[in-house]
């Protein structure tokens, strides 16, 4: 075989070594401390058009299929929506009543209202899925006021949380990612646990459930709001398998998430909005605002 003079030059080896060194130092810097965040942000702006391009066919297919849906389906859908609307508005009225009542109670207890009352929808741009990582990119970022650690919902269930932001995109980690854990409690017994991702789609593993705990199949686990990251009392997962292992002090509990990660295309972002506390009289100001009361009240309401 002949050696082509251009490819076997020593410069190639030099270049190769330089880039390997550069990659290694990038990895160390990125892993040890987050000092390359600005580089990542700049690059993510660069690839944004590419992400949009990849999303385009799906988006168009979705639009087109919506456009061509027949009159019949529209009519039935319309009917269903109207029924839903009636139901929802009735529920809304009930909710409004409860809200004012709750606010009054809170004011009396001098507890700060703690609510998430700003919502926004975002589209999923791309998904990274494997047994070691379950993350996705959405089309909303810093510019829309998204911050790291913000909870993400889907159809009234908890979907995950934001772990990375760029100006126009941000990365969401799913509940089923093996590096993700959410504090939960059993709706039936009230016993709390930690739900960790398994890396398997839609499956969670419950940690810290002692072997003699009362857990059954189809038990529903709700978010407990401990850690103050996720909103409390949202459904998270349903138990599908409870296994007792003789040598394990904890139960092996597998639960299926209420979110079906394979079908979701849009997610709901929620903000914990700072609420202006109405001015209070002098007497009530003197009494300390006890956070214990707040918790107790929350439990009573739930």
């Amino acid at each position: 075989m002949h050696n082509t003079p251009n490819t076997s030059n020593p410069q190639l080896l030099l270049q190769f070594m330089l880039f390997i060194l550069l990659s290694l130092s990038f990895m160390v810097l990125d892993y040890k401390n987050n000092s390359l965040a600005s580089v990542r942000t700049a690059l993510s702006i660069l690839v944004y058009p590419l992400q949009m391009l990849v999303d385009l066919p799906q988006e168009t297919a979705y639009r087109v299929s919506e456009f061509f849906s027949t009159h019949n389906t529209l009519a039935t859908e319309n009917y269903a929506f109207r029924k839903q609307l009636e139901f929802s508005s009735a529920q809304q009225k009930l909710f409004q009543g409860l809200k004012t009542e709750n606010e009054n109670l809170r004011r009396q207890l001098q507890a700060k209202p703690n609510n998430y009352n700003k919502f926004s929808l975002a589209d999923i741009l791309s998904i990274t899925r494997g047994s070691f990582k379950q993350e996705l990119v959405i089309n909303a970022g810093n510019d829309q006021g998204i911050t790291i650690g913000q909870p993400v919902l889907s159809l009234g269930n908890i979907y995950g949380q934001i772990i990375e932001t760029a100006p126009y995109t941000s990365v969401v980690i799913q509940l089923s990612d093996p590096h993700h854990t959410i504090p939960v409690y059993n709706k039936r017994t009230g016993q709390s646990a930690l739900a960790t991702g398994t890396g398997e789609l839609n499956m969670l593993k419950l940690k810290d459930v002692v072997a003699n705990a009362d857990v059954r199949n189809n038990d529903v686990y709700m978010s407990s709001g401990f850690g103050q990251l996720f909103p409390a009392n949202y459904p998270v997962a349903k138990v599908v398998e409870v296994k007792f292992e003789p040598d394990n002090p904890f139960l092996n509990v597998q639960a299926k998430t209420f979110v079906n990660y394979d079908t979701v295309r849009e997610v709901l972002l929620v903000w914990k909005e700072k609420v202006i506390v109405p001015p209070v009289s002098d007497e009530s100001q003197k009494s300390q605002s006890p956070s214990e009361n707040k918790d107790k009240e929350k439990k009573n309401n739930g």
Binding site: N6, L12, Q15, S23, D30, L50, S126
Partner: protein, 162 residues
């Protein structure tokens, strides 16, 4: 001897962009584990066809973009693709690119080393894959290689050198 030219300026860049889009395309989880490494195959193709035109800079930068796109640690794919291109450039001097089984053997070695190093990086950063599915792209890549190799020749023109 025949001379090979690019069909249009920026043909290499275009082919790499297409490979990136193929890599990002959403698939169902059943198909996802079988996704061939389109970008690595593209670089191997150019290393065989036009070793003088393809540069490590492009491989490194493409890798960096893939790191951002896939949410990997910055430098993981950059290192991987640099390694793939360098090995492809060096090994393609030592094989006859016209013989298909030699090509396949070369790709097996290159992608094997690449996936092994990738696995090591994943392990160090605490992302060890738990199943053997990790190695499936190695076989799917080899399976689609002849097709990719053929389709990518759209981007080049061969002229008889007189």
């Amino acid at each position: 001897m025949d001379k090979v030219f690019l069909r249009f300026p920026g043909a290499i860049l275009t082919s790499v962009l297409v490979a990136m889009i193929l890599t990002m395309l959403p698939l169902s989880s059943g198909l996802l584990v079988w996704r061939p490494d389109w970008i690595a195959l593209t670089f191997i193709h150019w290393a065989i066809i036009m070793p003088k035109r393809i540069s490590l800079v492009l491989a490194w930068f493409t890798g960096l973009l893939m790191d951002v796109l896939s949410g990997a640690i910055l430098g993981q794919y950059a290192l991987g693709f640099t390694l793939v291109l360098y090995m492809a450039l060096r090994l393609s001097e030592r094989i006859n690119p016209r013989i298909i089984w030699q090509q396949v053997f070369m790709i097996f070695i290159i992608l094997g080393v690449y996936l092994l190093i990738n696995l090591w990086i994943l392990g160090v950063t605490g992302n060890t894959p738990y199943s053997w599915n990790y190695w499936l792209p190695l076989f799917s890549s080899i399976f689609v290689w002849p097709i990719v190799h053929h389709l990518l020749s759209v981007f080049k023109v061969t002229r008889k050198h007189l």
